[in-house]
């Protein structure tokens, strides 16, 4: 096909779209709505996953020091912990701090019980990058002579790790289901659109147009319908996400902040949505119309 021919056929596709306005607009609208569903729920699922992963970080391991540990030992250990790549954060809790905390809990009755500030040991509270390494980390630091004891809440670890794993699995599965159903919806719409132009296809065949010559404008139209649907959905989805993102970002003081919910980063997420929509819209438009038209070509 020459370039002039190609240009002519693209022009024909646009002309066809404007002449079948109701069909075109309705199909673009359907692609738009379908991708909007994908977008909104996809982002919802993404953020659930994101928050579930964030949960893992909340788990901490307590490292209690022996009462004899002096400032140098403590500093050295602090450094070791900070350098450990498996550890995300390190917090030192002195004997005094531990005592104050306990005192609060027992409503100042400690002193009446004759318990002094050295009643509790000093400790480090660390959080791990990957909760699956907890056993390894605990075992390692237990060996240190300056460390009296290493504790963590085994059940919380198990609970949280399972919980977030499940949430991510379910979200992932739902994402796949959603995408599949969207594929069905969009290709179905394209099929309806092509079906209602069956007459044209048949006439073209009767006057001797090759299958390629008949298909190409339809396929381009399908691609364009997918493309326009995708662009509109992206604009709407993006707009909604930016709004929600801003609510999250500006809510540092209000009740939303209290929940500890986080939101997935703006740019990466929008880029992902954009690419996903264009791929889903355009490819489905192209492939959908190609398949839809094949049946009508058998004359």
């Amino acid at each position: 096909m020459s370039i002039a021919n190609g240009a002519r056929i693209v022009k024909e596709s646009f002309t066809n779209m404007s002449r079948n306005r109701v069909l075109t607009i309705t199909s673009i609208f359907t692609v738009f709505v379908t991708l909007l569903i994908i977008g909104i729920f996809g982002l919802f699922l993404l953020n659930i996953s994101y928050n579930a992963s964030a949960l893992d970080e909340l788990l901490d391991v307590k490292i209690f020091l022996i009462p004899e540990a002096d400032v140098y030992t403590i500093n050295a250990l602090n450094e070791t912990l900070n350098l450990d790549e498996k550890i995300i954060s390190v917090e030192y809790i002195s004997q005094e701090q531990a005592y104050e905390a306990t005192k609060e809990l027992f409503d100042d009755d400690m002193e009446s019980l004759g318990l002094g500030a050295d009643f509790l040991p000093a400790s480090f509270v660390i959080t791990l990058k990957d909760y699956e390494q907890v056993d390894y980390v605990v075992e390692m630091y237990r060996q240190y002579p300056s460390i009296y004891k290493v504790t963590y809440h085994k059940e919380s670890f198990d609970f949280t790790s399972n919980y977030s794993k499940w949430i991510r699995n379910i979200s992932g599965a739902l994402g796949v289901v959603l995408a599949t159903l969207a594929v069905l919806l969009i290709s179905n719409t394209i099929r309806l659109t092509v079906h209602s132009r069956n007459e044209e296809v048949v006439i073209m065949k009767y006057i001797g147009a090759t299958e390629a010559r008949i298909k190409i404008p339809f396929v381009i139209e399908g691609g364009l319908i997918g493309f326009f649907g995708a662009i509109i959905s992206f604009i709407v989805t993006g707009f909604i996400y930016v709004k929600i993102y801003n609510v999250f970002m500006n809510s540092s003081s209000d009740e939303l902040f209290l929940t500890g919910l986080k939101i997935a980063p703006l740019q990466e997420t929008l880029l992902m949505v954009f690419v996903g929509f264009i791929v889903l819209g355009v490819i489905l438009g192209l492939v959908g119309s190609l398949f839809a038209i094949r049946k009508h070509l058998r004359v």
């Binding site: 002449r19 006439i203 009767y206 006057i207 001797g208 147009a209 090759t210 004359v299």
Partner: protein, 225 residues
């Protein structure tokens, strides 16, 4: 050029449209197919352009066997035939101009030639004013003439016209039939299915008569009785 051997056509719903038709139309001939409504004229046309396949028998057109022809050969085969359909079959979303243009485009003629040819063709059939009208904005006779312009557009070897004057007044009809005569003189085989006795009697060409799907008469210089 066209050979039918023992062709029988029974449609899916059981109606027998053609019964044991054998027929040969040599290259360059001008032939009419006449017969009462429902006698099988359009079905015969459909056999020749491979819109339908016969239930029994064989059909050869322009050297192609309608059963043996390959899927990818069909477009080229159909481009070698020009057809005026009884119900016109114009593309509803293209203007008169574009309908004719499309038939030329698919033959691969270059754009400059197309730009000259289309107005010429529309002028021949007397439609210079309505080039930008869509089929549903044209009168019945105008649509019929667009269909004719499209059928003759790429100088086919074989021209088949199914009632090409059914919606035309006598004067326009005569003009059209004389046009077909001219095209035939230039070497194109022409087959016209019609019930218009005046044009048949005017031309004195071969007349094939169908009745209830049977070939009942075939005269070389026939007329409409």
């Amino acid at each position: 050029m066209i050979i039918l051997k023992d062709v029988t056509k029974v449609y899916k719903n059981g109606s027998e449209a053609l019964k044991n038709i054998s027929l040969a139309i040599p290259k360059g001939q001008f032939a009419f197919v006449i017969g009462p409504s429902g006698s099988g004229k359009s079905t015969l046309v459909k056999m020749i352009m491979r819109e339908e396949l016969p239930t029994h028998g064989e059909v050869f057109v322009n050297g192609y066997d309608m059963f043996g022809i390959r899927r990818h050969q069909i477009p080229a085969f159909r481009r070698s035939i020009g057809v005026v359909f009884q119900d016109f079959k114009l593309l509803p979303n293209k203007t008169a101009y574009e309908n004719v243009e499309f038939a030329l485009q698919i033959t691969g003629i270059n754009r400059r030639d197309i730009k000259k040819l289309v107005p010429h063709l529309l002028k021949i059939v007397g439609l210079s004013q309505c080039t930008n009208a869509y089929p549903d904005e044209l009168s019945g006779g105008e649509q019929q003439r667009v269909a004719l312009a499209r059928a003759i557009a790429n100088g086919p070897d074989l021209l088949i016209a199914d009632e090409p004057t059914g919606n035309l007044d006598p004067k326009t009809s005569i003009g059209i039939i004389e046009l077909l005569g001219k095209i035939n003189k230039m070497g194109t085989t022409v087959l016209v299915a019609t019930h218009d006795s005046s044009i048949v009697n005017r031309m004195r060409k071969r007349v094939i008569v169908l009745d209830e799907g049977r070939l009942v008469d075939d005269q070389m210089r026939g007329h409409y009785i």
